[in-house]
Symmetry: D2
């Protein structure tokens, strides 16, 4: 099994970087990634130094997928996410967008949490179940080089809880070889990622990358054993919710034979929304697969 170590830290989903690994469709690999804070916080005494590193969410990649061409899509199945440092780091910082309600006297601080036996030790009295996910995953667009801050049709800083082991993420291919990047692992994440800094960790992700020829996607999709999900990002969030449901309906139409307006009716009653980072307006609209057979 090929392993891709942390190399130069890239902060863009860029077509301008040379592939660091070349894989065949269907290959399973292990990818090591640095944490979102570029490893600056290892103890509670460390501080995020934005002069030394102004960017967030370093990526490992790009990974070239043989035969990938514009108009194809990648199916990335996540098997396992393992914390390599045995801990996650977070930090509280001035919640500027919330100061209207909470004020601005937030004590800035690093907060390192050990991870052991499936638990994150947030404090002496609070443990959080280890529920890892990938914050940033995406392909290189043909037009523009997005930073690791936004999310978009290429994926990017999706920060969706469901980008997690057991699930498959579908991403569009825009350039030859696809050029897949990932990073920004979280040991756990709340809906909305309120402070914009999750339980950030360096880790190793085991994943399989399949290639779906001529399967153009407007936005990323996620599939779990129980659900299919359409992901859309961008403010205002209510617009992204409408668009994500529309993408889910079009998926039900094209892949499961549903009438568009029957799907629209059904999702009104059984659809579910998972909220990603609230500042970006990212959401996944979901439906349980058990409904899909009943078109």
């Amino acid at each position: 099994m090929q392993r891709l170590a942390i190399g130069p830290l890239y902060y863009e989903f860029s077509r301008h970087y040379s592939p660091r690994l070349r894989i065949r469709p269907g290959e399973t690999i292990v990818v090591a990634t640095e944490d979102a804070l570029s490893g600056q916080i290892r103890t509670n005494d460390d501080r995020r130094d934005k002069v030394a590193m102004p960017y967030s969410n370093p990526l490992t990649g790009p990974i070239a997928v043989e035969g990938a061409e514009p108009g194809d899509s990648l199916a990335v199945t996540i098997h396992e996410i393992r914390p390599t440092g045995g801990q996650a780091a977070t930090r509280t910082a001035e919640p500027k967008q919330l100061c209207e309600w909470l004020g601005t006297d937030c004590p800035h601080g690093a907060h390192v949490c050990p991870i052991r036996d499936g638990l994150i030790y947030w404090s002496d009295t609070v443990t959080i179940p280890y529920a890892p996910m990938i914050g940033c995953i995406g392909t290189a667009p043909d037009w523009g080089c997005p930073t690791t801050l936004p999310a978009g049709p290429h994926g990017g800083n999706l920060d969706i809880l469901e980008t997690a082991p057991g699930n498959t993420v579908y991403l569009p291919v825009f350039v030859t070889d696809g050029l897949l990047y990932l990073g920004d692992l979280h040991a756990a994440m709340g809906h909305g990622e309120l402070s914009a800094t999750g339980l950030e960790m360096a880790g190793e992700t085991t994943l399989t990358v399949d290639l779906l020829k001529q399967s153009r996607l407007a936005w990323p999709r996620i599939e779990s054993p129980e659900e299919i999900m359409a992901v859309v990002s961008g403010p205002p969030m209510e617009r992204s919710i409408a668009q994500a449901y529309a993408q889910l309906i079009l998926w039900m139409e094209s892949s499961y034979g549903w009438d568009r307006w029957r799907a629209y009716d059904l999702l009104t009653h059984v659809g579910r929304i998972s909220v990603g980072y609230y500042g970006l307006g990212t959401v996944a609209a979901k439906v349980e697969k058990r409904y899909l057979a009943g078109k």
Copy 2:
């Protein structure tokens, strides 16, 4: 046990209507309500006639709570919601806000679904678990008379899944007697209520109304056996999410002794968002009670 039958259909949370029932704090009552479509759709051949009734979401009420004064709050515990007609009605209509993605050729149609044995028979092949909730619940403001379309600090058209049996809804009191109204029951509801018309049903709700003196609330709150939740409504939804988390943090601070910024950190990792009607930007920010002891 007092029962309040459907009376005149009111479409406003208004202080100008006379109480139809007067109860003592702690009293358990049964309230009958018409469906959101004012009962216009009973079969698949019926149509929503907006000339005959241009308003939606008729309410039963107001209910006067003895001793309720401005600055108090009501704690409304929902025990049971029973469909009186044995069915729910929904309809597809031009999805104007979605026409950008789905087009405008939606076949208009009523869709009546029988409810039996805990199941909603949406079609011959699809059944949806009966998971009833109250769409509209609120008190009469002292300033303005909101229609049954928006949600606000008074409650209103909350359309939140968690306004459901087993849970308690906390609502502010603005005028003497509180003046509680409810209506718009749904047999089940998806996050976002995509088409704006749920599985609407007439029904009877059993609830207990308690009075909390001098407990001013900025926005409604909901408590389930496992979670506490702060509800905020208004576009853009990302702003409501931030404000709902802020309200939840202030609740953790005032009632559970949490430091504000510790709560802010914790919710980043374990908070959950439940999305109400997307067109209004209504959300509930939630946290499991088991975390609250660990301040």
Copy 3:
């Protein structure tokens, strides 16, 4: 000429209040109004006391227009706005929505500015041209009683610069008699009304009210000698801009014979937007009348 003095201060566009004046269509009247701060600030030492008066923007009215019925509209031509106290009052207060960029150390303070000879004396060194407008003008809806905070199809807290002498405001009639209210005069106003408190003044407005039978309006309109304007309110503002242009296009189609898509093309190149209170997302989309003949 009938004069309507300041009477009870109403803070709602409500159908529940009895008309204080009854006029014939075409009649010219003078209406006196209190300032938006309910007269609490007369000197720089005064403070806005929200305990004594929690509401803002008191109205004078309602004015009944003989023969007005639902589906009609009122054409309110503003002739003159005169400050009765010879001054305007404003105040700086915590700019909560801006604290992300400006901080929260705003010195709270009243600021009274004399008005003389067409000038507002804002300071020893700064004078602002006297450019009065009506902040709140609207009719009573049949459904709900809006407070004096929002704007809507009924008008309300429009805070649009163009609600000014020389111009005509068109408002829909929802109930018998129309029930017109006005208040919240500003001696001048910037686009957006940044602090939400303009140069508030008590004053007398001279206006003529005409009745247009069977002329249903979706939203208020304004006409100046040079321009026609469609007003829409509500966040996000970009949606209101699109909707206001759509309303303007439909007006060009129905009243000036334009093809809808030609109007859409033209407005892309010559349309203008006037921004009202930014917190409400209120805008007017405008076009110069000289273009209208060229359909």
Copy 4:
């Protein structure tokens, strides 16, 4: 005077392209640019072919400014914008974001308008004053390569009416040499650019580029003989308005000695907003210079 001809059409503000022209600070140059439609529409029979060219708004550049380093800013004074083809082209296309109000039966069509003697001949009966502006102007960021669709701190697709002859645009420098790009000239533009396709023209722009050392800008600024303006982009527009006013206040504080809260008060009464492309939420907050002396 150096002239930069149209070269390879770039559609990104990218640091990866080599400078096509190198100038000294203070130098005046002429820059030729293709139209936003990549020259695909020259007659009313032409169509925008998105297969042949999926991107919009081609740029000429980059222009290297000697001595420009990160933390500096460029002051670009626009002297003249001349249409090289004697015409502007626009097109109507499905107004997806407006279909809720206008429907979807828009006849797609190119529309070419001759420009002569300071007039744009939009039709036989309608002429529009020639009021040219630059739609896209910006520098290459150090992080990410924005396409020519969005606007941001680097400038980009600003689509602000005030990027016009007689005015100076201030842009931040992020990389050595600055790397200035421009394109997307409009012969005239309405507020909001409703259809997203203005009166697009190829042209030649005469401009002077000055270098301001160590003058870090958070967002672009514009200065006219009468006004100073702060530009911010991003939805929701109401947030951009608040942020643009905040940027304007901070400018008044740092460059004109104003107290922040006095400026906040003044702008409430005399500030003006110019709306750029509504789909991006771009605005300029403006104040007349004559007020600035009166701090």
